[in-house]
């Protein structure tokens, strides 16, 4: 893997930018098109690109499979947990007004923020998990046979 020098250099440059863009889409999703789904996929692209250009082994050292599986679950729990908190505050499930009863619009903001964060985490982890699941299968063809 000493060749593909340009690919590797560009990838190293891009991965950071992709992640930054993912965060932008995630956190600016309140005001403009975006949100957890899109940001999650973009974030996953960073990891998948890294895995494609370097190797599965390298990317799994950064983002180990067990962590991926836990994050899938964590994101869903974050989403459901937001709803449960609003329930404990005496409001309906996912009624974000519960967080700031005096100013429901702010509550909406906080609630959407937490929920979209959960979505983003789960989508990132699911996408990476799908990539791992397929990429980690032993290949049927050796590299030369392609």
């Amino acid at each position: 893997m000493r060749h593909h020098l340009i690919l590797r250099v560009i990838t190293k440059l891009l991965v950071g930018a992709i992640m930054l863009f993912a965060f932008y889409v995630q956190f600016h999703g309140d005001f403009s098109p975006g949100g957890g789904f899109q940001a999650g996929v973009i974030m996953a692209v960073a990891f998948i690109l890294y895995g494609l250009v370097f190797s599965l082994h390298d990317v799994q050292q950064v983002f180990p499979p067990w962590l991926v599986h836990k994050l899938i679950a964590l994101g869903v729990l974050l989403y459901a947990g937001t709803g449960v908190v609003s329930m404990f505050l005496g409001y309906g499930f996912l009624d974000y007004g519960a967080f700031t009863p005096d100013h429901p619009a702010h509550g909406q903001h906080y609630g959407i923020f937490a929920v979209e964060l959960g979505v983003g985490i789960t989508v990132t982890a699911v996408m990476v998990a799908i990539y791992y699941a397929f990429a980690s299968r032993p290949p049927r063809l050796s590299d030369e046979e392609w």
Partner: protein, 507 residues
Amino acid sequence: MSVESTHVAMTLNDHLPILQVLVPLATAPLIVLIGSRRLTWSLAFIASALSFVIAILLLMQVIDGSVISYQIGGWAPPLGIEYRVDATNAFVLFLVTGISTLVLPYARESVKSEIPARHHTLFYAAFMLCLTGLLGVAITGDAFNVFVFLEISSLATYVLIAQGSYRDKRALTAAYDYLIMGTIGATFFVIGLGMLYMATGTLNMADLADRIADQGANRTVRAAFAFIVVGMGLKIAIYPLHLWLPRAYTFAPSAVTVFLAATATKVAIYVLLRFTFSIFQPAFMFEVNTLEFIILPFAILAMFAASFIAIFQSDFKRMLAYSSIAQIGYMLLGISLLTDTGLTAAIAHLFNHGITKATLFMGVGILVLRSGGSFYNRIQGMGKTMPWTSAAIVIGGLSLIGVPGTAGFISKWVLVEATIEKGWWPISILIVLSSLLAVIYVWRVIEVLYLKAPLAGTNYKEAPLTMLIPMWILALACIYFGFATDVTLTASRAAAQGLLAGSAGMM
């Protein structure tokens, strides 16, 4: 939005509808997050038992015909998503959670022997997701939400069926076939919903019902109905669309088959009921025609064709799968009569067949656990070595035939009553005739179990208590509901009247 300054704090009781779905939904990721193989089963069981308690509480609140509405996120319907519990779906919720609570103790041993230990946490997580999906489909009052939950349960189901590949690799192709057919079905359903949305501009079920009643039947609404019936037909396994079912049930792990046979098709039938009676009006001519000239003949065909195929099977589990298709025929027959009694029969049979098939499939699972297979010559003579299991299978078999004193009798009796009431006595005769076919295939099992000599050199122990007790609870339920007829019939009749009252019942 709850913008009013005097906010009345909601109590736990108000939250029951959402908790019904939330408890299993949150348990699934929790199981994965904790990842402990020892805690997994207990977590799943506690969640299921909690859901069961919630379902009972809900059923008690709505049995008198009242309706509970819960607004997700505080957005009022028809804009927001609404959960709506009435007698019909409370009954379905009760069945689904009850079966899952009985299946889980049973699953513990069965899953241990059929699935490698490293997959156990994910297996129970998928089971919880499947339960979530089924409960969500039943409880939601939003048409698109039905699709989302349907897909949650279906995707989990494909995974669960594929887990049978450790016993037989054909489970993989069975799961694949189901995935293709199920996805086509779900997509047809979405096309139908899209057309409804085009015609009415709303997705809330009660609102849909009102607006369709206002504008009457037009081509868009008719096309939507066709797409929804075909889509749900694939999920229900209405006779010509049933091809995925026998293979999926045969090759899935035993515990999964029990759960699916008793709940998944039943929930799909509930969706069909909801759309046929609450959203579209039975007053529409196109709907009457569909039910009378398409569903009814196919239902009768299913009763006979599937029963005939069941007779000639040499595998107990596959035989039961075909018998399920025949039994679905009875429910559809009840629905297509479009009368109060017919609908009562369909809903009662939905419940009775659920517990009957669960008993039988549990019996098969135990036989598989001990003998390693469910072929007739593999399990022959096990009536002597495993008397308790075999006795429960006999009770289930009798209920499947519809022998007086069992649950199966009650619903078939009401069904016959409904056909006579409508004056369609040839159909009553057909019901009785097809029950005779059931006698043949059930008798074959009894003969194999009791009248054949056990295989030489085998001495199977009786099943572990954790499997026997759930099976016997269900077997006794088959008998109990055969005598305590007013319990099921009252609930079914309340549900049927609620449905036939149409949108009035929804409001």
